[in-house]
């Protein structure tokens, strides 16, 4: 585990708040995420867990507090967020593949346009990763020709092609038919085993128990409990978490 | 001067409404009053006149009335024939088509008799003589029609000025839908000269600073009323009426009223 004192966190969230008018979606959140951490964020709907994840790469603008990413405050207006986002892969519930591009183009547009890779280099890397998720034969297909599970695996690969330092997953299996959940989780499991730093918002409790290095429980925009998965699921401390787990497990 | 005409007409209208008699008033009132009464009483019916009321002083709008030399002459003819005059305002280049197709009985619009037009319609005896003149800016070098060669010339589409201007050597012809727009283009320096009928030219020059009419006329021509080819009966009637009006001095009176008012 990399949570020892003295090491610099990859992401340090300090007193983060997010208000929608009077409603506090995030209320004084502080978290440290170290390299190699696989942090699962769970909680009832409306608990602020997705908002929290989306604040990490500023798809959602926070209204208070700081986020240090690799030592730089990315909530600072002056920082070039586009540069930092390249280091933070994001996977969405609805996949959000670009429908007007082939799979290969979906994967290479970022590296080519943003990292000045040659077409050949970008395509070689994309094909290597496609191979790994078993979709190399669909490189020339369009997203609309793929199943949901395939789309989500491609979406993960699209993020990986940018060589990110952290991967953010926003309910990656919630929009999938049940029989397709497994194939996506398998890819995520591989990533975790490779020590990719991951922050995952999900309802897949079994998967969290199996893969997470840490689990965070959020409710009402606050972090209610945070622990390693064994303790978290077997010996929950707060009543809220006990209550929640009894409903979802 | 223009104001004085307007004032007279305005006061005439006011007076006629209060039914006070004066010479001006009776003359103004004839067009409407006589026409409506006679339509009801006599057998004549309607005499539909097609014109383009953007050609002062021959025809133009004064308030919501179409007035001018042509309008008054047509009214006088209608009176002679015992008919009710109805004026239809349209684009100048539609007038002959309207007469030919029977949408109008006569076309009275400061219209010059030309060979081309005679192919399609008949013309009455001329009721006045007009000239096409050249309007230029006061500081223009153009002093004769010959000097127009190679210049940009504004005209109103379908007028005799338009037709004749085509024969000018190397000239660029700008065909505006309305005469005053051609004059506006001249004042804005967009064209070098405008070819247009003498009477409206006088009005335009008077109303626009810095314009003048070139002394030498571009062409001299006769204005006449056009009538459909088939309608030779009406043609005769109108020629007779014109002769009567000429005899009685009424024609000159009407022309004097508009042209010499200044």
């Amino acid at each position: 585990m990399n949570t020892e004192l003295g090491k610099t966190p990859l992401i340090e969230v300090m007193n983060l708040t997010k208000k929608f008018h009077d409603l506090k979606a995030l209320d004084d959140i502080s978290v440290k995420i170290y390299e190699g951490d696989v942090v699962f964020v769970i909680g009832p709907s409306g608990s602020g867990k997705s908002t929290f994840l989306r604040c990490l790469n500023r798809l959602e603008e926070s209204t208070g507090g700081k986020i240090l990413f690799e030592g730089i405050d990315i909530t600072d207006e002056k920082c070039d967020i586009d540069l930092h986002r390249q280091k933070m892969g994001m996977v969405f519930q609805q996949f959000n593949l670009f429908p007007h591009m082939t799979i290969l183009k979906n994967l290479t547009i970022g590296p080519q346009k943003l990292q000045n890779k040659t077409k050949e280099a970008a395509e070689a890397e994309a094909m290597r990763l496609l191979e790994r998720v078993g979709l190399a034969d669909r490189a020339q297909a369009y997203p609309s020709q793929l199943s949901g599970g395939q789309k989500q695996r491609i979406a993960i690969v699209r993020a990986l092609c940018m060589k990110p330092d952290v991967m953010l997953f926003d309910e990656p299996t919630s929009a999938l038919d049940p029989e397709m959940v497994g194939e996506v989780l398998a890819v995520m499991r591989d990533l975790a085993e490779e020590k990719m730093t991951m922050v995952v918002v999900t309802h897949e409790m079994g998967f969290a128990k199996e893969v997470a290095t840490r689990v965070i429980f959020m409710a009402d925009g606050k972090i209610m409990e945070e622990n390693e998965p064994g303790q978290f699921f077997e010996h929950p401390e707060s009543e809220r978490l006990k209550n929640f787990l009894s409903k979802v497990l | 001067m223009k104001k004085i005409i307007a004032m007279t007409l305005l006061s005439a209208m006011v007076l006629s409404m209060t039914a006070c008699g004066s010479k001006e008033v009776t003359e103004e009132a004839t067009t409407e009053a006589v026409a409506t009464e006679e339509a009801a009483t006599e057998e004549g019916g309607q005499l539909v006149m097609a014109t383009n009321a953007e050609f002062p002083p021959y025809e133009y709008r004064e308030g919501d009335q179409i007035v001018g030399i042509d309008a008054d002459i047509a009214a006088a003819i209608a009176e002679e024939l015992g008919m009710e005059l109805v004026i239809e305002d349209m684009q100048f280049d539609s007038i002959i088509a309207a007469v030919q197709s029977g949408k109008a009985d006569i076309g009275v619009a400061g219209m010059t008799v030309t060979e081309d037009r005679l192919v399609t319609v008949n013309f009455s005896d001329p009721y006045t003589q007009a000239a096409q003149v050249i309007i230029v800016k006061t500081d223009s070098e153009i002093a004769t029609p010959d000097a127009l060669a190679g210049k940009t010339i504004g005209v109103q589409l379908g007028t005799t000025g338009d037709l004749y201007a085509e024969d000018i050597e190397d000239a660029t012809i700008e065909r505006y839908n309305k005469g005053f727009e051609a004059v506006q283009a001249l004042t804005q320096g967009k064209v070098d000269a405008v070819i247009i009928d003498r009477e409206p030219a006088k009005v335009f020059v008077e109303q626009n600073e810095g314009l003048k009419v070139v002394d030498e006329e571009f062409t001299v021509e006769d204005y006449a009323i056009c009538i459909a080819k088939e309608n030779s009966e009406l043609l005769e009637k109108i020629n007779t009426a014109l002769a009567t009006l000429q005899e009685s001095g009424k024609l000159d009176e009407i022309k004097a009223k508009y042209i010499n008012a200044e």
Binding site: G89, F98, I109, K113, S144 | F92, Q100, G158, Q184
Partner: protein, 230 residues
């Protein structure tokens, strides 16, 4: 009957080479339409970008205000009036090429409609597409260019094509500033021959053919775009 039509045809188009009025007019109409379309697309894009940026992010408030003003004025007044104002007021004291005046007037007119069409297209693209682009590290502008606009344009292609057909036909009022376009060409013949039928029908047929030809190309383009994405 046939002979009469033939004579009318000869009288209207062959005598004194009157067909040249139509041919020259057609050239002017095509010229004005072509450049006005380009100007319209350019302005439309610009305005649509400003407006949708404001809609999405709340930035560019002042620019958005001016864009709104432009849209309101242009869409709230007839194109003929805009044309006359451009010619007699805006360029009132300068002697400027009339084709240019028409291109500017019709281009600015079309730009307003194109802007709203493109903005509608941009807003119709799923917000997730935008987030996906931004999360990869693309700037707002590059996300627009690479990801949003290609999808938006495909969605609005029929509406855009329709706008260009409207524009082509609207240029027929160019005669108001004494520009000798196709319609005016027919009018000049009419003013010479006093025959309404031949010149007007000829002009109408030419417009119709142009619109049909254009529609054909748009259909081809749409088909190709559809094939590239299933």
């Amino acid at each position: 009957m046939f002979e009469k039509l033939m004579n009318s045809f000869l009288h209207n188009f062959i005598e004194e080479e009157r067909w040249k009025y139509i041919a020259d007019g057609l050239f002017v109409t095509l010229q004005v339409t072509f450049f006005a379309v380009i100007l319209g697309i350019f302005l439309g894009f610009l305005v649509a970008m400003v407006r949708s940026t404001y809609d999405k992010t709340g930035k560019l408030k002042l620019l958005n205000f001016f864009c709104n003003l432009y849209l309101t004025v242009i869409r709230g007044t007839p194109v003929v009036v805009q044309l006359l104002i451009t010619y007699f007021v805006i360029f009132g004291s300068v002697n400027i090429d009339k084709v240019l005046v028409a291109v500017i007037a019709f281009g600015f007119n079309s730009g307003a409609y194109v802007a709203e069409i493109i903005r509608g297209g941009i807003m119709s693209v799923d917000q997730g597409q935008f987030e996906a682009g931004r999360s990869l590290g693309f700037s707002y502008f590059r996300t627009m260019i690479y990801i949003i606009l290609p999808q938006a344009l495909k969605n609005v292609l029929p509406a855009l094509a329709n706008e260009f057909i409207v524009l082509l036909k609207e240029t027929s009022v160019a005669g108001y500033i004494a520009l000798q376009d196709l319609t005016k060409g027919g009018d000049i013949i009419r003013s010479r021959t006093y025959d309404a039928f031949m010149p007007l029908i000829a002009v109408a047929v030419i417009y119709l053919l142009m619109v049909m030809l254009f529609n054909y190309f748009v259909k081809q383009l749409e088909r190709r775009l559809r094939n590239s994405e299933h």
